[in-house]
Symmetry: C2
Subunit: 458 residues, 2 copies
C-alpha cells in the first residue's frame, strides 16, 4: 500500500498535467458543433487507459460513444467485481463572458484547477483512474475485478446507457457500482450519499372559454381559468409546508432515529444557506430540519406558470386557458406513477365544473436508498475515513440520479455515491473548478476503497 501511495505522490504533477489535457477537450455533448471534440476526448481517454495497462474498448451508440475499461481479461469466478461509473462529456459554457479564464484552457490558481468539466465529472473519475494506474504500475494486485464505464451523454440525459447496460448485462453484472459525481459539504466532511429523491412530473391545464374573452364585456359571468388554476394549486400545500393530497404520505419511509442523528452531523448554517439562495426566509415542512426537508421529505414544486397576456402593459382578458408545470420530489418508498395518479385524482375531485381540467402525466424517476448501516456502506465509510483522515458523514441528496436506478434494475447492483466535489465548484455554471485537494483525496480513496469493498461483498 505504501508503494502505491508513494507512486501517487511521485507522479502527482504529471497526473495534474494529464487532467489538464483531459479538461482541454470541449466535449460538450449537447452541442452538435462539438461532436468531433466529444469523439476526440473519448479517443484520448481510450488511449490513456490503454497506456495505463487497462483493456479498453470504445462502444459507439446512437449518440456519443461509451468507454469501457477493464482491469481483467476474463472474470475470475468468486472474485468481487465492481463497476466505476463516470462521464467524459461536459455542460455547455454559456454565458461565456462570465468566465474569468477560457473554459477549455485549464489553469491552476492556489491549488484549484479551473475549467469546464474539472469537477463535473472529469476530475472526479480521473482520480479513480490514477489510483488504478498506481496499482498496475507498481505491480500491486487489485483486490477485485474492476470495470470503468465512462459515458459521453450524461449531460444530455444519458439516453444510450440503459440500452448498453441491457446489452452487456452479463459482462457488467457486479457487486456494486461506485460513482464519484456529486458533492460533499467540505473537505473535513467527506461522505457517502445513501439516498436520493425520486421525481414525478405533470402538467395541469385549465380550460375555460373557447377563446380569450374581453374582461369588461364578459368578466364576472364566467370563471377565470387562471384563477381556478391558482385555487387548485394553492390547495395542494398547507401553511405548514405539508402536502394535502390524500394518500401522498402513505408510502413514505420515515426517517429512522439513526438517520436523523447522522443527518444532524452534516454541517449546516441556516444564515449561510439563506444567503446562498437569496431568500428572505427559509420555508419547509414543519418538524423537519432544512436538510431533512430538501432530501428526505416529498415536495411539490410549481416549475412554471403560463396564462393569458405576459407582455408589457396590460391586456384586459379572461384568458381561455392557464397551465402549470409541476414536479414532485419523492422519497423512499414512494412509487412515482402511483403518486401522479393520486395528484390527478385529487385535482379532478376539487376542480369546479366551470372549467375543463386536463392533467398530463410526465416523466418519472424512482427514489433511491441503500442502507446506511449495511456492510457496503460501512466499508465505504471506512475507506472515506482513511482517505480523508477525518470522520465521514452520511448524506442524502434531494435530486435524482437516474442511472442509479438503471444499475439497480438492469444490473441488480447497489450504487455507492462517493462525491469529491465541493459546494462552490460551480458545476453547470461559469468558472467551474476542482480543488486539487479533492483530486488527491480522491486518488487515495481509489486506492483503499476496493480492498474495503472486496472484504464486504454483498
Amino acid at each position: 500500500m505504501d508503494k502505491i501511495l508513494a507512486y501517487l505522490k511521485k507522479n502527482e504533477k504529471r497526473f495534474i498535467r494529464e487532467l489538464c489535457d483531459y479538461v482541454r477537450f470541449p466535449s460538450i455533448s449537447a452541442q452538435p458543433q462539438h461532436r468531433g471534440d466529444v469523439r476526440a476526448c473519448a479517443d484520448w481517454l481510450v488511449k490513456h487507459c490503454r497506456q495505463i495497462g487497462i483493456k479498453t474498448t470504445l462502444h459507439p451508440t446512437a449518440g456519443h460513444p461509451i468507454v469501457l475499461a477493464r482491469t481483467f481479461d476474463r472474470r475470475t469466478p468468486g472474485r468481487p467485481h465492481f463497476l466505476l461509473y463516470g462521464h467524459y462529456d461536459v455542460q455547455p459554457v454559456d454565458p461565456l463572458n462570465l468566465w474569468k479564464h477560457p473554459p477549455f484552457e485549464p489553469r491552476i490558481t492556489n491549488g484549484v484547477l479551473y475549467g469546464r468539466g474539472a469537477s463535473d465529472n472529469k476530475g472526479q473519475h480521473f482520480a479513480h483512474l490514477k489510483a488504478v494506474e498506481a496499482y498496475l504500475k507498481t505491480g500491486t494486485a487489485l483486490p477485485c475485478d474492476l470495470t470503468l464505464l465512462i459515458e459521453g451523454e450524461e449531460e444530455t440525459g444519458g439516453v444510450s446507457l440503459p440500452g448498453f447496460l441491457r446489452e452487456h448485462r452479463s459482462d457488467l453484472r457486479c457487486d456494486a457500482v461506485v460513482i464519484s459525481d456529486n458533492g460533499i459539504p467540505d473537505l473535513k466532511h467527506p461522505g457517502l450519499t445513501y439516498a436520493l429523491r425520486g421525481i414525478a412530473a405533470l402538467e395541469v391545464r385549465v380550460e375555460g372559454p373557447a377563446r380569450d374573452l374581453h374582461s369588461g364585456l364578459f368578466g364576472g359571468s364566467v370563471d377565470n381559468p387562471a384563477l381556478v388554476l391558482c385555487q387548485l394549486l394553492a390547495s395542494l400545500r398547507d401553511g405548514h409546508g405539508h402536502l394535502t393530497i390524500p394518500g401522498l404520505y402513505d408510502e413514505v419511509q420515515p426517517l429512522s432515529r439513526f438517520e436523523r442523528q447522522a443527518m444532524a452531523r452534516v454541517p449546516f448554517s441556516e444564515r449561510h444557506y439563506r444567503r446562498l439562495l437569496g431568500v428572505p426566509r427559509l420555508f419547509g415542512e414543519k418538524g423537519f430540519t432544512p436538510n431533512e426537508q430538501r432530501t428526505a421529505r416529498p415536495t411539490l414544486e410549481i416549475n412554471g406558470l403560463t396564462s393569458g397576456y405576459q407582455g408589457e402593459g396590460s391586456k384586459t382578458i379572461v384568458p381561455a386557458w392557464a397551465s402549470a408545470k409541476l414536479t414532485l420530489r419523492l422519497v423512499p418508498n414512494q412509487k412515482p406513477r402511483r403518486v401522479l395518479e393520486l395528484v390527478r385524482r385529487h385535482l379532478r375531485k376539487i376542480c369546479p365544473p366551470t372549467v375543463r381540467l386536463i392533467v398530463k402525466l410526465g416523466h418519472c424517476g424512482d427514489p433511491y436508498w441503500v442502507s446506511p448501516q449495511g456492510p457496503m456502506a460501512r466499508a465505504a465509510m471506512k475507506a472515506l475515513q482513511e482517505a480523508f483522515g477525518c470522520e465521514p458523514v452520511l448524506l442524502r441528496e434531494g435530486g435524482s440520479i437516474p442511472i442509479v436506478n438503471d444499475f439497480k434494475t438492469i444490473l441488480g447492483a447497489e450504487t455507492l455515491l462517493l462525491g469529491l466535489s465541493l459546494p462552490d465548484d460551480n458545476p453547470h455554471s461559469p468558472n467551474e473548478k476542482f480543488d486539487l485537494a479533492c483530486f488527491r483525496h480522491g486518488m487515495r480513496l481509489g486506492v483503499g476503497l476496493w480492498s474495503r469493498l472486496s472484504a464486504n461483498p454483498r
Copy 2:
C-alpha cells in the same frame, strides 16, 4: 318631419353608396403604413360634411386629425347644444385570410354591408350625419345647435382627444354628448346604455430565491414563489364569486329595484350565451343574474400568469419569481385608485415572509353612470321607441369607454350611449358587418332625437 323622412327614403340608395365610399378608406390608425389613408379618409369626411352644408374644419393633432363639423356659425344663447361623437379610424384587418371578402371592398349581401369599419364606427355616426343632411337639405330648422366631433385615434386609445377637449372647452361645452358606438341585443330591443364599468389594473410579483433553483437540491427548504402567488390570488375570491378584499364593496352603488327590473327585460338566453363563450358552465357572484354580474358588479380577473419554465417538456426548478397581471372591473361609485390601494394593502397583509411581494399599480378608468330615470335618459328612450318602433331597453355595459369620463370631467356633460350595432357585427374581427336596417333606424333616430333632447335640456 314627414318631409325629412321622405328625403331619407328617397336618397337611401345614394346614402348607402356614400357609406360604401367611406368604408373603402383603409383608415387603420394603428398602422403607420396607413397614415396617408387615415388622412385621406378625414379629408373625404370634411368634404362630405361641407357638401351637406355643415361648417367643417380639420384639426391636426400629434397623431391623426380631428374632424369638427358644426350646424351653426355662432352659438345662439339659450338654444340647446349637443355634441355627437364618432370616429373615422378603424381596427387592423388581420387575420386577413379569415375575411370572406376584402375588408376595404364593401359589399352588400341580404341587406347587410360587409367591410372593416362598417359598424365600428363609420356606419353608426354616418347615420346621424345623414339625418343632419335631411334637416339641412329640406330646409328644416334643427331644434338645437349641433357639433359633430369625429376623431381618428379611437382605436389607438384616443390619446389626442382629452387635450383637444381642454383646448376647445368653451366651444364644446354642451347639454349632452351622444355616442352611437356600441351594441344592442337585437333590432327589437334598441337601448340606452346608462352605465359602464370602470377599470383598475395592477401587476403582482412574488420574488423568492435570487435565481431559479434546482428543485431537487433545494426544493422543500425554500418557498416556491409561484405557489405563493397562487395562494395569494386564490384567496381573493371565494367559492361563490364574491371578492374577499376587505372594503372592496364599501362604495358599490347597489342596483335599485328599478334597475334590476329594467335589466330583466333585456333578452338573455343562458344556453346561447354559454355556447357563444364556449364555457362548460357559467359562473358568477351568487345572487345576481349573468347580466348583472358582468355589468353591475365588481370583478377581479387574472389576465396573465408568468413564472419559471414555459417551454416544451419540463425544467426542474424552484422559479426565482412569479407574476400576474390583474384587472378589476369597477362599478359606480368605486374609485379605482382607492380600490387598488385596498388590493395592495390586502396582498401585503396576507403575503408570507418567505418571499418578497411587489405590487405595481397600473392604469385606471372611472365607472360611469347616468340616471336611467332622468329627463335626458327618458327623452332618449322616447326617441329610440319612435325610431325603432318598439319598446327600448335600459342597458349597462361591462366594459369601459374612457372618453365618456373625459366628456364629463372636461366638458361637464353627460353622455347618452345609443348603440346601433348588433351582437354579431364582428367589430375588431374578420367579416365586420353593419345591418342596413340599423343604418335606417339610426337615421330615423338622428331625426327625432334632437327634438326630444332639446325639449329636456339639462
